[in-house]
Subunit: 429 residues, 2 copies
C-alpha cells in the first residue's frame, strides 16, 4: 500500500487533530450502500488490505514531499515518520457473502490512524468487492458452465487486471487469460486465439491446423474472423483431418447472434459426429446475455472481459468509510438518503432449517449473539493474526456461502432488502 | 510495464508464429470506436507506454512460470528471454485531441513483437484516454471554473488513481487531492475537510475554528455535516471571528440540491459582506450537473471523483488494437458494425481560416500530405526518441487543441461523426 495514495485532506485533518490534542480511541466502519443489482456482495481484498496496513510506513521521500507542501507541522511529520498501525481490525473475510449496510471492515484505533487510512482502504477494497459481486451474478447465470475471465485489456491498469482475475476466481469462475494473475496466485490460465492469428495465415484451414499441431490439448478455434458458418466447417475439417490427435478441441464464437450461431454450431458438430467438441462464447457478455444463451443457446464455456473489468450496471460501488463511535459515544449521520447508524458493530448470521440465511444480526462490539460470527478479528494491536488467508480458502468460503442465499437474492433484476437486523442497543432512538 | 500482464493467447500465438516461421514485418494500429459522448478524445498515456515498451524484458521468474505451464517450446522461451522491442512506434502525443477511428498508436515491427504487446498496451492506454476525454467534457461544462480531481477512493487501485489525476490535469483541470500524484508528477494538490472532522469536535464552530487556525491559507469549511443552512451561518461566524486572518476562505457543500444551496450560500455570504469567500461544490458531479450549476447556481470550484474515476456514461472505452498491414498487403476486417480499414496509417490535420479543425486526413505510411502531422514517430528501431514528453507540454497541447474544435464537437449529448477523411489509397475497393 502506498502511503501517499490518499487525499490531502486526510493528512491535513490529522495535522489539526494532533495540534488540537484530539487522538482518542475511534471506530471507523466500511460498508456498501444498497444497489438493486447487488443483492448480495462478495468480500474480496479486505484481508490483503488489513495485512498491508500493518506494514504501512512513510518513507523519507514521502515525508520530504509532504514537508515541501508547507502544510504540516514538524510534529506531525515526525508522527508520520514513526507511523505504525497500532489498532484492531475486524473484517468479513475474503470469499464470504455479505449484504449492504454490513461492516465489511471495522477499524478500531486512534482518531488520526483511522482517518489516515480512509482513502487508501476504499481505493484498495471497493473495486474488488464490485468485481467479485458482479462475478457472482454471472456465476449464477452460467448455471455450472465454465467461466473464464478475459478482462485484462479492459481493466484500468495492471494492478486491477490482476485483481479481477482473483476476484472472479473467488466467485466461482474457473480461470483467467491473465498470465500475471496465474503467476502471482496460481489461478489456472486459459486462452484460445485472436482474429489476427487467423489473418496471419493464407487460409483459415492453415491457421487452425498450425495451431492444433502446437496445442493438441487446447485446440480452440476462433471461427468468426471471416464468415462464422464457413469457420465452423473449417474447424470440423481440421478436427477430422487430425482425427484422434486432439485431446481437447473446441470452437470459439466472438461476434454475431450468439444464441443462433451456437445452436447452429452444435447441430453441425453433432451431424459431423463431433459430440465432444466444446463451444466457447465471448464478446461483451454479461449475466443477462449468459442467462439467455444458457436457456436458448448452446455453450460449454464463456469468456467475459469488459463486464467484470468495469461493470457497466454499477461502475463504482457506493462504498463508504465512516466514523461510527469514539470515546464520546455513537456517531450517527443523517444526510438525505445516506443514514449511517453509529456504534462499532459485529455481524452474526442465523440460518433456517433449510440451511439458508434467515437473518444477519448486527450487534454492538460489547454485545454477544448466538449466531455464526461473520466479522472476525484479523488485526490485533497492529499485528495481523488471521490464519485462513489463502485464495483457495476464499473460494471455498464463497462456494459454501453462495448455496445459503435465500432464492430471491439471486434475482438479476429485482432489488431485495438486505436481511439485516440491528440489536436494540444499535437502534436509533 | 509487467511482461506477463497479458493474455495467455498472445504468447501461445507467438509460440506458433515462431514454429511456423511467420515473423515478418507487420503493422498494428490502436484506435477508438465511436461513442456519442466521446465526440473528441484526448491522448494520454501513449508516450509513457511507448517508452516502457522499449524497456520491456522478460525476467527469470516470468520465464520459469511460463515454462511451468508446459505450453511453450524452449525456442520460444529463449526468444522471450532475449526480447527487446526492435520496431517503430508512431503515436498521437499526450494532450493532443483526436477522434474515433484515428490511429492513436501504430506499432510497426515483427509479427510476434506486435502481437505480444496487444493486451498490455490496451490495458495501459485505454483507461487513461477515457479519463482524459471525460475530463475534457467536464472542463468544457465548467466554463473556466476551477476543477479538482477527488477520485482516488473511487479508482480501481493505486495506479489508476494516480493516472486519473494526471489525465484530468492534462485536460485542463487545476489539481488533485491525490498526494501520490502530486509527489510523482508535481500536480498541485488541494483539499478541504471531511464530515468525520466536523464530527470530531464538540461543535461545528470549534471544528471550523481549529481548522482555520492551522490553515489560514486554505480554510474551506465543509458546511453540510449537520444542517447546511446552519453550517453556512457557522462558517460566516468563524470567518468574522477571525476577521482579516484568513487569506483564502471558502465553504464546501457536498450534498443536497446544489443549485439551490449554492445560490442561498452566495446570498448569505454577500449579505454578510463576504464577497471573497469561494464556494466549492462536490458530490457525484458530472458534466451535466456542472453545466446546470454554472447556468443556475453559484460555484467557484468543483470537486469531481467517481465520474472521472470510472465514467458511468462509458465505463469502458472501445479501444482496439488490430493488425492492419503486413508483407502480404493491407489487412481489412469486416465484422458487423466493426470495420477495420487496413493499411498502416499516418494522420494529418487541416484547419480552416477561423483556426478550427476543418478535417483530419488519414494517409498510408508511404504517402505525403500537406496538413499538420498529428501522428509522430516516438520509437525508432526500438529506441524512444520523442523529446516533448512532459506533463506540462501535454497540458499545453490539450489547451491549444481544445480551442480548435468545431463548435458542434463540444456538445454533451449529440454524437457527431469524426471529421476523418481517408486518402484514395486507403479507401476500400
Amino acid at each position: 500500500m502506498r502511503p501517499l495514495l490518499t487525499d490531502l485532506y486526510e493528512l491535513t485533518m490529522g495535522n489539526v487533530y494532533l495540534k488540537s490534542g484530539v487522538d482518542g480511541w475511534s471506530a471507523f466502519e466500511m460498508s456498501v450502500r444498497p444497489h438493486p443489482h447487488r443483492n448480495y456482495l462478495v468480500s474480496v481484498g479486505v484481508l490483503e488490505a488489513a495485512r498491508e496496513i500493518t506494514q504501512l510506513r512513510f518513507g523519507k521521500e514521502e515525508i520530504d514531499y509532504l514537508r515541501s507542501l508547507g502544510k504540516f507541522s514538524e510534529e506531525f511529520l515526525e508522527y508520520l515518520q514513526n507511523f505504525r498501525f497500532r489498532g484492531d481490525i475486524y473484517a468479513i473475510p475474503d470469499g464470504r457473502i455479505f449484504f449492504a449496510k454490513e461492516p465489511v471492515m471495522v477499524v478500531e484505533t486512534t482518531r488520526i490512524e483511522g482517518q489516515i487510512l480512509e482513502t487508501m482502504l476504499l481505493n484498495r477494497v471497493a473495486y474488488q468487492i464490485n468485481s467479485a459481486s458482479k462475478g457472482a451474478r454471472i456465476y449464477y447465470a452460467a448455471e455450472g458452465r465454465t467461466l473464464l475471465e478475459f478482462g485484462a485489456r479492459r481493466a484500468a491498469d495492471s494492478e486491477s487486471a490482476v485483481r479481477i482475475a482473483r476476484a472472479t476466481y473467488v466467485a466461482g469462475w474457473s480461470g483467467t487469460s491473465n498470465l500475471e494473475a496465474g503467476r502471482l496466485y496460481g489461478i489456472p490460465v486459459y486462452g484460445t486465439m485472436a482474429h489476427a492469428f487467423v489473418q496471419t495465415y493464407r487460409t483459415e484451414f492453415e491457421a487452425f491446423l498450425e495451431f492444433a499441431k502446437a496445442y493438441p490439448d487446447s485446440a480452440i478455434f476462433l471461427v468468426d474472423t471471416y464468415d462464422t458458418f464457413a469457420g465452423i466447417e473449417t474447424a470440423i475439417e481440421v478436427i477430422n483431418h487430425l482425427k484422434g490427435k486432439l485431446r481437447l478441441k473446441g470452437i470459439r464464437i466472438d461476434s454475431g447472434d450468439l444464441v443462433e450461431l451456437s445452436r447452429y454450431a452444435r447441430r453441425r458438430l453433432k451431424e459431423a459426429g463431433l459430440d465432444d467438441v466444446i463451444i466457447v462464447l465471448s464478446g461483451d457478455l454479461n449475466e443477462w446475455k449468459i442467462r439467455e444463451i444458457v436457456r436458448e443457446g448452446e455453450a460449454d464455456a464463456f469468456g467475459v472481459g469488459s463486464e467484470v473489468a468495469i461493470p457497466p450496471d454499477k461502475p463504482v460501488l457506493g462504498v463508504i468509510y465512516k466514523l461510527v463511535e469514539d470515546e464520546g459515544g455513537f456517531k450517527h449521520k443523517f444526510s438525505k438518503g445516506k443514514v449511517v447508524i453509529g456504534g462499532s458493530k459485529r455481524l452474526y448470521r442465523h440460518y433456517g432449517s433449510d440451511g439458508r440465511i434467515l437473518k444477519d444480526v448486527l450487534v454492538h462490539r460489547d454485545e454477544e449473539n448466538d449466531g455464526e460470527p461473520i466479522t472476525v478479528q484479523v488485526v490485533k494491536n497492529g499485528e495481523y493474526i488471521y490464519s485462513e488467508d489463502s485464495l483457495q480458502k476464499a473460494r471455498e468460503r464463497f462456494l459454501r456461502d453462495f448455496s445459503t442465499l435465500p432464492p430471491e437474492y439471486y434475482d438479476l433484476d429485482e432489488g431485495v432488502e438486505p436481511p439485516v437486523e440491528y440489536s436494540p442497543k444499535l437502534r436509533l432512538r
